[in-house]
């Protein structure tokens, strides 16, 4: 199976700082992948490397089995909606759709017109006069009508109000259901991703902290409360806090926790992600390819 995005030791250095370091990932195809991490964690860098808007300093990256942006055929297979969903302010919506038709052989004009119609937008309106939500929808429409196999979205909803955010994600999920796209989208808010993603990558301080199926992640992480004591080696502690007698832990384990001394509670995705984000930098845990 070809990975949607596969990286090996990928790194990007800006002058003296590393925006992304030693990133080894295999994001499977056919998923809706959430890339989550605090601001400045390297999410945008990773996504821009994936669409060939940046060249890696080190390591390798392949997207749908090919070098990013390597020729028009590869460009046609990948759709990208950049941060702040840029469009040409002076061009009308109709101009944008014409641009899409001219530059993309697989252009689905019917889909584009239908989406613009559903959004209630006037094709003669200049893109510069659109609201943030409308602009994001236009950018998404342009990318969807290109009929890519993989859709990459960089913080598409970060600047939208809650209603526009919901509408955008709803439109995205409808398109995913209709066309069977692979999607990678980044956000610094887990709540945005929780509703739509079935695969998660947590990126902190330019390193991948955890990656995997959402259901696997939730199943393999537990919050434990109990007396302070030594832990079995099969438990990986993600975060811990202690009082004199009690320990409060968030652990990862593949097996069941049988020790009756612990009170075991399930972990919400948000809790899990926040734990990884607050965890001090350690050897990055690499994702498991499924």
């Amino acid at each position: 199976m070809i990975a949607a995005i596969e990286t090996g030791g990928l790194g990007k250095q800006y002058r003296r700082t590393w925006a992304l370091r030693d990133c080894t990932l295999a994001i499977p195809e056919g998923r809706v992948v959430g890339l989550v991490g605090p601001n400045g964690a390297g999410k945008t860098t990773l996504l821009r490397l994936a669409v060939g808007m940046l060249a890696p300093t080190r390591g390798t990256i392949s997207v749908l089995g090919e070098r990013p942006a390597d020729g028009s055929a590869q460009l046609a297979r990948v759709g990208f909606v950049a941060q702040d969903t840029p469009v040409y302010a002076r061009m009308t919506i109709a101009d944008h759709l014409r641009m899409g038709a001219w530059l993309n052989p697989a252009w689905d004009g019917e889909l584009a017109r239908r989406r613009i119609g559903l959004l209630g937008l006037n094709p003669k309106q200049r893109a510069g006069s659109l609201s943030g939500g409308q602009r994001a929808q236009l950018a998404l429409t342009l990318t969807l009508a290109k009929r890519p196999e993989l859709l990459i979205l960089d913080e598409p909803v970060a600047s939208l109000d809650p209603l526009a955010r919901r509408e955008f994600l709803q439109g995205l999920m409808e398109a995913v259901a209709e066309h069977g796209l692979s999607v990678v989208l980044s956000s610094h808010l887990v709540a945005d991703l929780e509703r739509v993603c079935d695969y998660l990558v947590v990126l902190v301080a330019s390193e991948v902290r955890v990656a995997g199926e959402v259901s696997d992640l939730v199943a393999s992480h537990h919050r434990l409360t109990g007396p302070r004591r030594e832990l079995p080696a099969s438990l990986e502690v993600i975060t811990e806090s202690h009082t004199d007698k009690q320990s409060n832990l968030l652990v990862r384990t593949d097996g069941p926790i049988l020790d009756p001394a612990w009170i075991v509670k399930p972990v919400s995705l948000e809790d899990l992600v926040l734990s990884y984000m607050s965890r001090a930098g350690r050897r990055p845990r690499l994702g498991v390819v499924s």
């Binding site: 490397l49 669409v51 060939g52 808007m53 940046l54 060249a55 890696p56 990256i61 070098r67 990013p68 942006a69 390597d70 020729g71 028009s72 055929a73 460009l75 046609a76 990948v78 759709g79 990208f80 950049a82 941060q83 702040d84 840029p86 469009v87 040409y88 302010a89 002076r90 061009m91 101009d95 014409r98 641009m99 899409g100 001219w102 530059l103 993309n104 052989p105 697989a106 950018a139 342009l142 990318t143 290109k146």
Partner: protein, 348 residues
């Protein structure tokens, strides 16, 4: 991609065509009058020394008719057109895409970034060159009578600079093509390098101005080895300068007798042995005092002093036009190459 380039370039193209049309209308409205003044002047068919007088009176009539400001304005527009093109068309081409983030949109359509840049540069450069050369051709047609009068030796003035003078050389023939291509590519490259539109515009203007000053001052005179000759100090009509009694003298040749259109690069007096001289010989001190300064050149000539002149012959006008245009086009190509390299290095 060509259609998108045209769509996105339509504002610039419309502005260019409107300026060109306004310029053409203005000159077309006055051109026939100018031509009729020339026809009435009787310069065509003149013979000998009378030609210069006829040319002078024609230039005088042109000035009286109020065409001098129009002529100078048209020259200024042609000189400035490449700068405006480089600043407002070239510099934003990449820089504005980067500033507004629309590069992410443009470079993720199913068209390679190389093709994107190739189409943008081709369309932009073609429009830039067409507009600039169009202005140049319209003005050349309009000012042709003035140029012919200057060729017949009309006295030097704002209207009658020689074909090699900076303002005439840079606004006639094919050089505007080279300037337009160069500044456009310069603007694009500066925008790619600096990534911000306004600073890229400033850098484009500064470099263009520096190149346009350096070219006529230091480079154009040496595009081919200069010729050398000496002319008589007595041919005063072609000398300008003065001497001070008992002191030094300095004359500058402004042309070669009987060889109109020659471009004088440098000149200075030499004695019979060929050494440069600037001190008035004893025999001529009296002449310079008694006869005013007008007697001095004849006296200097009688002492065997001649004016040594290095010059470019008039026949080199077109070769120089071609060489200079080729230099600017080569610079434009080099800058274009830089833009492609920048695009491929920056992107994966």
């Amino acid at each position: 991609m060509i259609r998108l380039s045209l769509l996105q370039f339509r504002v610039q193209a419309v502005v260019g065509v409107v300026v060109l049309a306004a310029f053409a209308i203005l000159l077309a409205a006055t051109g026939p009058h100018l031509a009729s003044l020339y026809a009435a002047s009787g310069i065509d068919g003149c013979r000998g020394g009378g030609c210069q007088n006829l040319a002078d009176s024609f230039i005088f009539e042109v000035t009286v008719a109020g065409y001098e400001p129009l002529y100078l304005a048209s020259v200024a527009i042609i000189l400035l057109a490449p700068a405006i093109i480089g600043i407002f068309w070239g510099a934003p081409l990449i820089a504005r895409e980067l500033e507004t983030g629309t590069s992410a949109l443009a470079w993720n359509q199913s068209v390679t970034r190389t093709r994107w840049l190739a189409a943008k540069l081709t369309i932009g450069a073609l429009i830039a060159m067409t507009v600039t050369e169009g202005l140049c051709l319209v003005q050349s047609w309009w000012a042709a009578p003035i140029g012919r009068a200057a060729g017949y030796g009309a006295a030097s003035g704002p209207l009658t600079q020689g074909r090699f003078s900076p303002q005439v050389f840079a606004t006639h023939g094919i050089t505007p093509l080279g300037y337009a291509a160069f500044t456009f590519a310069l603007g694009v490259a500066a925008g790619a390098l600096i990534r911000r539109t306004i600073p890229a515009m400033a850098v484009t203007l500064a470099i263009f101005a520096a190149v346009q000053v350096a070219m006529p001052l230091w480079i154009r005179p040496h595009l081919a080895p200069t010729h050398h000759t000496t002319i008589s100090m007595a041919s005063l009509g072609y000398l300008a300068g003065q001497g001070s009694p008992g002191g030094t003298f300095a004359y500058v040749a402004t042309g070669l007798p009987g060889r109109p259109g020659t471009w004088i690069i440098s000149s200075g007096a030499v004695n019979a042995a060929g050494r440069p001289v600037s001190t008035i010989p004893a025999a001529c001190v009296v002449a310079s005092v008694e006869g005013g300064y007008s007697g001095l050149p004849d006296c200097l000539a009688s002492q065997g002093i001649r004016e040594a002149v290095s010059y470019q012959p008039a026949s080199r006008y077109w070769p120089f036009q071609w060489i200079e245009t080729a230099i600017y086009l080569a610079l434009a190509l080099a800058l274009t190459g830089y833009c492609f390299r920048w695009l491929n290095r920056r992107l994966s």
